[in-house]
């Protein structure tokens, strides 16, 4: 028929038009960049804004710092909530500029966890910082967590929960393992190089994705990301 013959050349422009008027922003467009080593972990190619990810295992801190480093380098602020133990030397070696790092403690020294206060602080921090690195306290109420998740999603904040996420709702989990250390011998040498395997799983991280990265010791300018690209 004549009509069918005419319809074929129209498909391409129509598809383009459809893309232009599409009302939703795709998740892939709302990502903050990660180092290309980690690109394979996420279907969207980066950390999607508004999502909460748990990072566990024996290399959790290094992995989380390496993940957020490119974002902080490009001007985002990083808040460390209840994480006074993060090693700042390691952070700067992994490429996090410390000028935009703020630490917030939610419990006074010597006191126990206060989940209510923790929720308030994280919610307030979500207003001003782009990336949150948090430790989840024990005993979070389900209602509080739900409200907080909505807030974090609305504010387009990337939250990484270090260690056991407890009842904190997470979109995915990164399980890290320091697979191999080199440089340390039996009474000699020193820790030089570490290979870390990161495995992604969870609701929003489908498939069995994993990647490897190494923490090298080159003493050259630590402002460049200290992760080498070996992806599997």
């Amino acid at each position: 028929m004549e009509l069918a013959a005419d319809a074929a050349p129209l498909t391409a422009p129509l598809a383009a038009l459809g893309d232009r008027v599409a009302p939703l922003a795709l998740a892939g467009e709302r990502t903050i960049p990660v180092d290309e080593t980690f690109g394979d972990l996420f279907a969207e190619g980066g950390l999607v804004r508004g999502r909460t990810i748990a990072c566990e295992g024996s290399a959790a801190t290094s992995t989380a710092l390496a993940l957020v480093a490119p974002a902080v380098r490009s001007g985002a602020w990083l808040a460390l909530i209840d994480l006074p133990t993060v090693g700042l030397d390691a952070a700067s070696e992994l490429g996090v500029p410390l000028e935009r790092v703020v630490a917030i403690g939610t419990r006074p020294p010597g006191a126990v966890d206060d989940p209510g206060r923790w929720l308030d602080v994280v919610a307030a921090a979500a207003d001003g910082f782009d990336v949150l690195l948090v430790r989840a306290p024990i005993g979070l109420s389900a209602g509080g967590v739900r409200k907080l998740s909505v807030r974090l999603r609305q504010r387009d904040v990337v939250t990484i929960v270090l260690g056991d996420p407890g009842s904190m709702a997470c979109d995915g989990t990164l399980q890290t393992d320091a697979e191999e250390w080199s440089g340390l011998g039996d009474g000699h040498g020193h820790l030089r190089r570490r290979q870390v395997v990161v495995r992604a799983s969870g609701r929003r991280l489908p498939g069995r994705r994993h990647c490897r990265f190494t923490v090298p010791v080159t003493s050259t300018a630590p402002s460049v990301p200290a992760v080498a690209a070996i992806s599997a």
Binding site: D89, L98, I104, H190, L191, R194, V217, S219, P222
Partner: protein, 540 residues
């Protein structure tokens, strides 16, 4: 309009690199925001110029040593110079580290004329240290002309004296770019002057002040006034009323500088707020600190652009830092806690506002973060919201300090250190990679040898036996210790002994460091101190 005062300016070229302790014959440069802000003569002769990018500087001069900018270090190292000049004339203004101005009239009469005064200042400052080049000394009417004279003097190697009343002629032949060099005008305005054919300060001065006001507004009038050698603000800037003076007397002497700075922050906020309510801004601030033993530190700080509350606090911090670090036995050395903090606005002027840049400078994210920090501070406590500050040390826990964010000027800050590890000023620090988890309070542990006995290290740094297993301890001395499961050690290295501050009995530390790898692939930094084992950091 009354004639400008006669002012002496003392200027050290490239002070940040001098403060970092580099001699002129070592190629070195200080970087801020990836650009050179100061360099040594050796680097300059290789073509490294101020404002250059890091890469280009390295290409011009491959063996150059690049350092990060540290305003605190600049201020600390400048203190001896300030004290030395204060011997001659106590009323001096520190504009920034490396740049002092003082009124010429009194001291000039005292030593017998401007020339004698300039020679005396050069002599005084060169006696201070043989490694430092003497500064440039310039004397002229008005701060602007005298600052230019000091810079020319540093270039020429001899003091530059502009005769009384000679500032307009002195300025007339100078290029218009000086307005930007001295930070009096923003680069855009200076560039515009250049495009309009006003290439010398004299060209600008030749215009009618009323026309300049009509075309360029207040910044233009300010530039015009400076270019004409009439370096006075309009006389509407009456002296601030004495009740503007703010002080705080502490009942408990403050032993920590953070406590003093926190009080200064409150005072500065109040002062800047009350001045702003009148539409005025403080250009010269006198900071007085007094200790419980009656020692006093008084400094006058000048900033032609006016000081915000954060800038005031920063100056208090510089002054306090310099006071604390005075050498033993010097005059007015700080021996007790601080009991009095006083901020006096010595000179104020109408605040004609400033136009914020569209690009660069503070970003929206920075402003949002600053607002949130203020909100979080009220939500928790001032001590709970902290930002890192470099302190330096051999142990991971010593290297950075967390200071309350409310006390720090958050924009234009550099924290990250290049050259960590064994290089740099901390020989004996651990090699990279650094541990990602550092325990402020180390975890007690036990390290055992093959026979199940505690591993010891002798005074000469020899291990009694190879460590074989490690176990954590929980509990405390009062209730007794519970031992955790022993974990086999598969690799280890050490001991790396450290002996710190043996000259101070209270803070003396003597310890041996080990790196250990347990069978579950966990890397640990383990420390033996006073016969007890601690896990001080984890490589995770």
């Amino acid at each position: 309009m009354d004639a400008p005062q006669r002012i002496v300016s003392i200027w050290y070229p490239d002070w940040p690199v001098t403060a970092a302790g580099f001699a002129a014959d070592v190629p070195a440069a200080v970087m801020s925001a990836n650009r050179v802000i100061a360099r040594t003569d050796a680097a300059a002769s290789d073509g490294v110029v101020v404002g250059q990018r890091r890469r280009r500087a390295q290409r011009r001069c491959p063996q150059i040593v690049l350092l990060d900018h540290d305003p605190d270090r600049d201020a600390r190292e400048f203190e001896p110079v300030v004290r030395c000049v204060a011997e001659l004339s106590p009323r001096l203004d520190v504009i920034e580290p490396g740049w002092i101005s003082l009124r010429a009239r009194g001291p000039s009469r005292y030593v017998g004329g401007d020339e004698a005064l300039a020679d005396r200042l050069v002599q005084l400052t060169s006696e201070l240290s043989t490694s430092m080049d003497p500064p440039g000394v310039g004397i002229a009417d008005g701060r602007f002309a005298s600052s230019i004279a000091a810079r020319l003097a540093a270039r020429r190697g001899r003091p530059v004296l502009v005769p009384a009343g000679g500032s307009p002629t002195f300025c007339a032949d100078l290029p218009i770019g000086w307005l930007q060099t001295l930070g009096e005008c923003d680069p855009d305005l200076v560039e515009l002057f250049g495009r309009l054919g006003l290439r010398r300060l004299g060209d600008l001065a030749a215009l009618d002040a009323v026309d300049v006001l009509g075309r360029f507004g207040h910044p233009g009038v300010h530039a015009h006034r400076l270019a004409s050698g009439m370096d006075t603000r309009p006389s509407s800037t009456t002296d601030p009323a004495p009740e503007r003076r703010l002080d705080h007397v502490l009942d408990d002497p403050a032993a920590h500088s953070s406590a003093v700075v926190f009080i200064a922050k409150q005072l500065a906020d109040e002062l800047a707020g009350s001045l702003a309510a009148d539409g005025r801004v403080c250009t010269r601030l006198v900071v007085v600190l007094e200790s419980e033993h009656g020692e006093r530190s008084e400094r006058s700080w000048y900033r032609s652009a006016g000081m915000s509350a954060a800038a005031m606090v920063e100056r208090v911090r510089w002054q306090l830092d310099a006071w604390v670090n005075l050498p033993r036995g010097s005059d007015q050395e700080l021996t007790g806690g601080v009991v009095l903090v006083r901020l006096t606005p010595d000179e104020v002027r109408a605040d004609d506002g400033s136009q914020l840049g569209l690009w660069g400078g503070q970003s929206e994210a920075d402003r949002r973060a600053a607002r949130t920090i203020a909100r979080l501070t009220t939500l928790t406590s001032p001590d709970a919201v902290t930002v890192p500050v470099w302190r330096g040390g051999r142990l991971p826990a010593d290297r950075y300090d967390w200071v309350p964010a409310a006390m720090v000027d958050l924009d234009r800050r550099t924290v990250t250190r290049t050259g960590s590890g064994p290089v740099g000023p901390w020989p004996g620090a651990l090699p990279t990679p650094s541990p990602a988890t550092v325990f402020a309070d180390p975890l007690p542990a036990e390290v055992l040898d093959e026979r199940g006995e505690l591993v010891q290290v002798t005074g000469r740094g020899v291990v009694s036996a190879a460590p074989v297993s490690l176990r954590l301890l929980t509990g405390d001395d009062a209730t007794g210790w519970r031992r955790g499961r022993p974990r086999p050690i598969i690799a280890w290295a050490g001991p790396w002994p450290v002996e710190e501050r043996w000259w101070e009995p209270d803070r003396h530390r003597r310890l041996a460091r080990f790196q250990m790898l347990t069978d579950d692939r966990e890397g640990l930094l383990v420390v033996l101190e006073r016969q007890r084992w601690w896990i001080s950091a984890r490589y995770d």
